[in-house]
Point group: C2
Chain length 139, copies 2
């Protein structure tokens, strides 16, 4: 057993733990998200979910991803002007972004420190700190 990190059953359990009713569509979307190509866009998820046969509508994919974000099950990454990428890893970490290929790679939080940030504007609270290292192929 344990051939895959995430079975549909373990995704259902993850949904329950985040207070999300694990319907068929939500399980498929979560499953797609936690599978392979780290950091997919909504469009890619829609394609993955419906690869074998039509299973889920566009509206449901967008609604569900928004729900996942609200419930803290996934994170949005805003690095590309034209689409949102989704990150199944919600723990603190940062990213390389290959602007030529449009691909993201994780930077583990361990060892990364930011020093000397000024205090927040008054009355504001931090929602998150993103470090994005934009890269491109040399020469």
């Amino acid at each position: 057993m344990e051939l895959q990190k995430h079975s549909r059953e373990s995704v259902a359990e993850l949904l329950r733990r985040h207070g999300i009713n694990p319907t068929h569509q939500r399980i498929e979307i979560g499953y797609a998200l936690f599978q392979s190509p780290q950091h997919p866009s909504a469009d890619q998820i829609l394609a993955m979910v419906n690869a074998r046969h039509a299973e889920t509508s566009k509206a449901t994919v967008y609604n569900t991803l928004k729900l996942f974000v609200e419930k803290g099950m996934v994170r949005e990454l805003i690095v590309d002007p034209s689409k949102i990428y989704y990150d199944p890893n919600t723990s603190v970490h940062h990213h390389f972004y290959d602007v030529a290929a449009g691909e993201l790679a994780d930077i583990p939080a361990a060892g990364v420190h930011i020093e000397g940030l000024p205090p927040l504007p008054p009355g504001m609270v931090t929602e998150g700190i993103d470090i994005i290292v934009r890269t491109r192929p040399a020469r």
Copy 2:
């Protein structure tokens, strides 16, 4: 004299220094960009430029902003999933982003250090490092 940091003449000069032929439209767009509301979007610039009377088309605003970015005269800020913000300050610095209001505020680079970043993926070169502190109103 010197009532404004940037006159149309000084914008024209800035364009020339960046190898951009200073046409009427480009000067107006640059002037709008360097005026006030720090970090405008393309849409806001279009509105500013045409506030008094129609002066510049949508295509020219988008083309020109892209040209400015290519020539290194302004910087794009990707912080919002729905629009690009433009930053007339190209020196190294970072940003607070109020996700509720959609407003950016500068964080001067002085004193801010990032430690412990891993080496770049092989064959890649850094294009820039962005730190975005996402904030929202408390409570």
